[in-house]
Symmetry: C2
Subunit: 243 residues, 2 copies
């Protein structure tokens, strides 16, 4: 029976892929994915066959991957970051439905919460929430409600999709909501292009974050009440020193 | 200048380590960690020098790693899962303080939220919270408050440390709190020994989870309102099919 791997490739560079992800990409006959991510892995596996679809064509992309696997190919469907966190694994299971063919193996990868945190320092040492500001598939009211609860619960927050075409002010709006609960000087961070050539990290206050320019290659971190800046790093102590 | 790598080794097997983590363990002179995790990597890097400390000796372990790096060794301090999420990277930065010596590089790894989710199916496709039930360093009231907010915000929840010696009923208590907000038949999951020989995954309802036996090698997942069981997998659709 042919196999469909749903592979989290991490932030995009080879070094941050797992051994298992690399192995799946070596073993498969065909790599399917969103154009930008396929371009990221193409240089490491140039001899493979590739199929790409545009950004919002998730159902088309997953159907294509399942179809090719049904035809007998071993297929690797790639996702940036983790294959689960805002990834394609759920849609693959949904579209496959109540059958076990093709065989599906979900291969986890480094999500931006973890790879971005490592770049900033250690902002997620304690309980945290991961919230996307994209309202393409989620009502803005739901997103706002989640931000409110996360702030009230003193969870650190990793914010995905802080901005994109058509919604340039989502992060500013999110900061306004968070500022109802959190102080202006709360430590925050922005990561850009994690694991790629232009990778960068910036630490700033929540007030400053409100004015910051972000794009779709950014991941944003909101510190919890314990979070501080130590020697240019964003650090959330867990309390080991006070046991 | 010598270097201190803080390395997330993922769930414990070689395949789920990143290329970068493997490289750091190859490059270093000394591997420092909690005994159980050191035993996990020893078989892959048998020629290395190792230093281990007991479970609750986090400050001692990190001080030791910094000390050895100061002496001129390249040190890899290993953490299970990610080096940030409930890991040692924050404590390393805290203990190093306002200096840049030794050079610290945080290498992210697969945290149990991602590796466990992949095992269960795709429970974390949408916004989620990561909450530890360990009250060794966090007041139980804070944990309860976070569970309440996560449930009210319809966040999926990855629960770390659902149980340990001295607090065998924390998961049961957590389920009672969640049941104030969520229905009894809410889909949940338990992962055991992720990435290890006895790895297993189980899907059950929140009501059943309350009675489930868990140990310190378990990670627990609470589905959000959209979560369902498809062909034995725990799946949270993100809504791509309804765009």
């Amino acid at each position: 029976m042919s196999k469909l791997y749903v592979v989290g490739i991490g932030p995009g560079n080879y070094e941050n892929m797992t051994i298992r992800a690399v192995q799946a990409l070596k073993d498969c006959d065909l790599i399917v994915g969103y154009t930008v991510y396929v371009d990221l892995v193409k240089e490491y596996f140039p001899e493979k066959e590739f199929l790409t679809t545009a950004m919002t064509k998730e159902v088309e992309r997953c159907s294509l991957a399942l179809e090719e696997a049904h035809k007998g190919k071993n297929v690797a469907m790639i996702c940036s970051g983790d294959s689960g966190v805002y990834g394609m694994s759920a849609l693959i299971y949904e579209l496959r439905g109540e059958t076990s063919e093709p065989q599906v193996e979900v291969i986890p990868g480094l999500t931006a919460a973890c790879s971005g945190a490592a770049l900033l320092g250690a902002p997620l040492t304690h309980d945290f929430a991961v919230i996307s500001l994209s309202d393409r598939l989620t009502k803005w009211e739901t997103i706002v409600d989640r931000l409110r609860h996360a702030a009230q619960a003193d969870l650190s927050i990793a914010i995905y999709n802080p901005c994109s075409k058509g919604r340039p002010d989502h992060l500013k709006k999110a900061c306004d909501i968070l500022l109802e609960y959190l102080p202006k000087d709360r430590i925050c961070g922005i990561c850009r292009n994690i694991g790629r050539r232009e990778e960068s990290a910036q630490i700033l206050t929540l007030e400053e974050l409100k004015q910051a320019e972000v794009d779709m290659f950014c991941t944003v971190f909101i510190g919890n009440a314990m979070c501080k800046s130590i020697n240019g790093k964003m650090v959330t102590p867990r309390g080991y020193r006070h046991v």
